[in-house]
């Protein structure tokens, strides 16, 4: 009996295994991989239902907008809308593209073969455009135009709201329009009744600078490229929660806010932003770039990056 017990004990003891040192591994299992590049000129890009819409400014205050799709190793341009004036901003709700330009407000209808002016409104030169439901919000200097586009053939101005300073940025959701003026002030406008917008609150940003405003996930994201940070405010039923969280960034000039991920750009890096814990944002991966991108967009796990001469495709991969 004693021998059996001793044998069992020694057998177990012989299984000594000091393998408690672990290997280094990627902290979050998120990787970025540059998979393709195409010759393409443009300044801004929007992805909509498998089609890329690109705004390209030329050197003579003229602009082009074209739609294209990627086919294997090549890129196919479907239709182009050429304007001999500057298009400042655009928004896509396929098949319509809404323009804020020197000419005011225009709606262009894109098909697979052509792009035609569908309708337009004679308003002052417009600089920023945003879309929510059946309305577009267009910033013209210090005025906010609310335009009903239920019938794209005949858009109607529902309301005009004047602010004391030039509008620098604009974002909307179904209840509120967020309007930044004079580099400091954020105006919160209730647009539940679009024909009677009501200024419900104003708040002062913690730092000077033009902000790019984005609304997503029930939050307002305010990107300040002067001081390199994003402020995140929670939109509540009774307005904007003034307590904000923030993400500090390293010398970036462009921010894209997506569904699961966003990204910011500096001169030679793309910094992927994890959005899943919004309003807590964090840079979760970095990818070095050989060229300086101007803008970009994410569709699911694909990132489209536009430089002055190329379109780069990168993929987000996960798994430790």
């Amino acid at each position: 009996m004693n021998k059996i017990v001793i044998c069992i004990m020694l057998s177990i003891a012989s299984c000594i295994k000091f393998d408690f040192v672990s290997e280094d591994e990627d902290a979050n299992g998120i990787y970025l991989e540059l998979t393709a590049s195409y010759q393409l000129e443009g300044n801004e890009i929007i992805y909509e239902d498998g089609i890329l819409f690109v705004l390209d400014h030329d050197y003579y205050n003229a602009s082009n907008i074209f739609n294209c799709y990627i086919s294997g190793d090549s890129i196919a341009i479907l239709a182009t809308y050429g304007a001999n004036y500057t298009i400042h901003d655009f928004f896509v709700d396929d098949p319509y593209v809404y323009l804020a330009s020197e000419q005011g407000f225009e709606i262009i209808k894109f098909t697979s073969t052509e792009a035609v002016v569908y309708s337009s409104l004679n308003i002052p030169p417009a600089s920023i455009i945003a879309l929510s439901d059946d309305r577009t919000y267009v910033a013209c200097n210090s005025a906010l135009y609310i335009i009903n586009i239920t019938n794209p053939r005949a858009p109607e101005i529902e309301a005009i709201m004047d602010f004391p300073f030039t509008i620098n940025s604009l974002a909307v959701d179904t209840v509120y329009a967020f309007v930044q003026t004079d580099y400091y002030t954020l105006n919160v406008v209730n647009v539940q009744n679009p024909s009677d917008p009501v200024l419900t609150a104003t708040l002062v940003f913690p730092a000077f600078g033009p902000y790019n405003l984005h609304v997503k996930h029930g939050c307002l994201y305010a990107f300040n490229k002067y001081d390199d940070f994003i402020l995140i405010y929670t939109i509540e039923s009774d307005g904007l929660n003034r307590n904000y969280s923030s993400l500090s960034l390293p010398n970036v000039y462009y921010a894209y806010i997506g569904e699961e991920y966003g990204f910011v750009l500096n001169s030679n890096e793309l910094l992927l932003v994890d959005m899943q814990y919004t309003p807590v944002l964090a840079i979760c991966e970095t990818m070095y770039l050989l060229e300086t991108p101007l803008s970009g967009v994410i569709n699911e796990d694909t990132i489209y990056l536009l430089t002055s001469s190329k379109l780069f495709i990168a993929h987000i991969k996960t798994g430790l």
């Binding site: 017990v5 003891a13 393998d19 408690f20 591994e25 500090s248």
Partner: protein
């Protein structure tokens, strides 16, 4: 019952003696009618008597508490068979026993005795490792004796040794406690609404009782692959007794010689503990002393970057207590204690642009004071009151170097604190029978904490239905001070409001089942806002604990317990007020020990639990000139925790010593339990820190 196995030669008589009912071997006395001396059976109950002369005709077998048996040898003139003798137990008549009221124990008091403690795998040398098997308790790490109790934090537990609070019961990070197990008689663990006698802790109280002081010389010597210790108890006469013990671990020597110096804690500590007891007509004077020294190195290498932390510490505590029994019903005890502790930490982490950041942290704490308690007991009625006052000194210089272990790569925040303030407490507790079998215990505790500029009152109510089953209810407020390095002008004592209800049922004389529900609300929790510290944090813990305990019966004991805890609380490291998951929601523990008749013993300990709650790293942000981590707003849980330990032992008797040779195997399945993660300076790479691998170690423990 009587089984004849084999025979021996005529001049030798052999046999074995059993209890007739339980078949447990008895160390009975065996004598032959013509012999003057008596032979004593060994622990297996066997005996061999040689040189039995002709004419011997009877064998007398006797044992205390049993009816003696006489066997006639006449029928075996030449060959005496191997005898198997079953003795019949007798009822023992005892003098009447006066049961004092303080013997009434509330069901929420969990007791583990020394005999159980020394065989629980991994707890042979550390009382706190045994605590980790009790319901409602979990630990942040296998290596450490630190405790999370019912959603509480590590610093929210109080430890009393023979009634005196121990300021620093742990070595650095809780690697080990400062107590020698051989000095401990038993411990009580209270996690609910504990009596008014105890304060300064919102989560739990561990009351350790030292071993009784017999009037015989005794001692213990223990050595294994990790640690060696000794204890010597010496009564000078019937008045004065001394007890001393020391211990020293040499895991540092072992690991360094094995070349294991990275990604592991390399601890060194040496502890001395002493006790002098003087019995006089005025009462008993007890002096306890603790002297500890430690040195710990932690080095980790992550993606080519090195993190290093070196800790030097020492502490000493002395206390003197005067116990006096005025009458059979009135007992008083009072005394003085002085405790101080110093620690120096040196940390290194990668800095900006390939530089190394250094940090040095110095901590000095001192607490001294006096106390006096009085207790009256008469039957179920108990009245107790007491108070104490003293001074708490705290000095802290430099940044918190230890933060580098928590993934905090900035050592720029300096906590220079030099403070000293008085503390005081007074309590009164009364127990009485409302209407038999209902017992009520009402208590009120008044506390004045250092730097908290106002008194706090802690009412405690405990109700017991002392029938079948026993039903217990408790309610209490429990206060404590925050860590002193965070104190501000508006320092508040934080508290937990506890309500609990338990049912204890004796299923069988050997088995007791217990179920308890509790709800704890935490208020005034500290929150480190970066620029200031505020005390507006909160939290809660709701839970249920179920346990079934088998009481020690001839070396067979054990318990199985399941705990569910849903707890959320403000983290001290959060800049925002938010509550997040705390610790493990599900914990299942199983402990079973069995001592066999032949002197072998085995104890099995199994622990299964949800992984510990932790803040998952989401990513980073760029702050000024470096990357800073951003964690998820809600805590996630690490992978499931599993650990099975086993302790094999064999009782031995050598050179006049009795003792045990044992083999303990920790984490026998070698399950890789993750304790947490360390990150490199830009938080792009991580390294999992595993807990205990499979570790077998052999030891021997001798007593006399």
């Amino acid at each position: 019952m009587h089984i004849l196995v084999f025979t021996l030669f005529c001049s030798t008589v052999t046999g074995i003696v059993y209890d007739r009912d339980t078949q447990i071997p008895l160390q009975a006395h065996v004598s032959i009618n013509d012999r003057e001396y008596v032979h004593v059976c060994d622990s297996a109950g066997t005996f061999t008597i040689t040189g039995v002369s002709e004419g011997s005709n009877s064998l007398i077998i006797s044992h205390v508490g049993y009816k003696s048996d006489t066997i006639n040898l006449a029928p075996y003139p030449y060959r005496v068979p191997h005898l198997t003798v079953g003795l019949q137990a007798l009822p023992i008549t005892l003098d009447s026993i006066h049961v004092q009221a303080e013997k009434l124990s509330m069901p929420d008091r969990r007791k583990v005795t020394f005999d159980e403690l020394r065989t629980i795998p991994g707890a042979e040398k550390d009382v706190f490792k045994a605590l980790q098997t009790l319901p409602g308790v979990n630990s942040p790490c296998d290596f450490l004796g630190l405790l999370y109790v019912r959603g509480g934090e590590l610093n929210e537990n109080a430890v009393y040794y023979d009634g005196t609070e121990i300021l620093h019961p742990y070595h650095f990070l809780g690697i080990s406690t400062i107590f020698n197990t051989d000095m401990i008689g038993s411990f009580d663990f209270l996690a609910g609404a504990f009596p008014a006698r105890y304060g300064g802790a919102v989560s739990s109280v561990l009351a350790i009782q030292s071993k009784p002081h017999p009037l015989t010389i005794s001692g213990a010597l223990s050595i294994d692959l990790i640690e060696a210790d000794w204890m010597y108890h010496c009564p000078v006469n019937k008045i004065v007794t001394f007890t001393f013990s020391s211990r020293r671990n040499y895991l540092d020597v072992l690991l360094e010689n094995l070349g294991i110096v990275e990604d592991v804690i390399i601890p060194y500590y040496i502890d001395h503990q002493g006790n002098i007891s003087i019995q006089t007509p005025l009462g008993r004077f007890i002096f306890d002393g603790f002297k500890n020294q430690e040195k710990t190195n932690i080095t980790a290498n992550i993606a080519g970057e090195r993190i290093n932390l070196e800790i030097d510490g020492s502490g000493q505590t002395i206390n003197g207590v005067w116990e006096h029994a005025e009458t059979n019903t009135i007992k008083t005890w009072g005394g003085y204690f002085h405790s101080e502790f110093t620690q120096h930490l040196f940390g290194e982490i990668p800095g900006v642009s390939q530089t190394i950041n250094h940090a040095e942290e110095d901590i000095y704490t001192k607490k001294y004071g006096a106390f006096y308690h009085a207790q009256y007991t008469n039957g179920l009625v108990k009245m107790e009151t007491g108070g104490g006052t003293g001074t708490y000194v705290y000095r802290h210089d430099g940044p918190k170097a230890v933060d580098i272990l928590y993934g905090i790569n900035s050592l720029e925040t300096v906590y220079d604190i030099d403070t000293s303030d008085i503390y005081a407490y007074f309590y009164a507790d009364q127990r009485f029978s409302i209407l038999s079998p209902f017992v009520c215990e009402l208590g009120q505790r008044l506390e004045w904490f250092p730097l908290v500029k106002q008194p706090v009152f802690s009412p405690r109510i405990r109700l017991l239905f002392d029938g079948t089953p026993r039903i217990f209810m408790g309610y209490g407020l429990q206060y404590q001070t925050p860590p002193f390095e965070y104190v501000t002008i508006e320092t508040k004592a934080y508290y937990s409001k506890t309500i609990c209800c338990g049912i204890e049922h004796t299923i069988h004389p050997l088995f007791t089942g217990y179920i308890e529900l509790y709800r704890k609300q935490y208020r005034h929790l500290m929150r480190d806002g970066g620029y200031y510290t505020s005390f507006d944090g909160s939290g809660y813990a709701n839970g249920i604990e179920v346990s079934l305990r088998k009481h020690n019966d001839h070396g067979s004991f054990g318990w199985v317990s399941y705990s569910f805890s849903a707890s959320k609380r403000t983290s001290p490291y959060d800049a925002e007020i938010r509550t997040s998951n705390a610790h493990r929601p599900h914990i299942l523990n199983f402990v079973y020990g069995k001592e066999f008749a032949n002197g072998y013993l085995i104890t099995l300990k199994c622990q299964f639990a949800t992984g510990a709650a932790y803040y998952d790293l989401v990513g980073v942000e760029w702050l000024m000139d470096r990357w800073a981590p951003i964690y998820a707003p809600e805590k996630s849980y690490l992978p499931q925790y599993q650990r099975i330990d086993v302790h094999f032992g064999k009782n031995i008797h050598v050179f006049g010593f009795t003792g045990e040779v044992y083999l303990t195997i920790l984490n026998i399945t070698n399950h890789k339990n993750i304790q947490g993660y360390l990150y490199n300076s830009n938080y792009s790479m991580q390294k999992a820190i595993f807990m205990m691998p499979r570790i077998p170690f052999i030891g021997i423990r001798l007593t006399f």
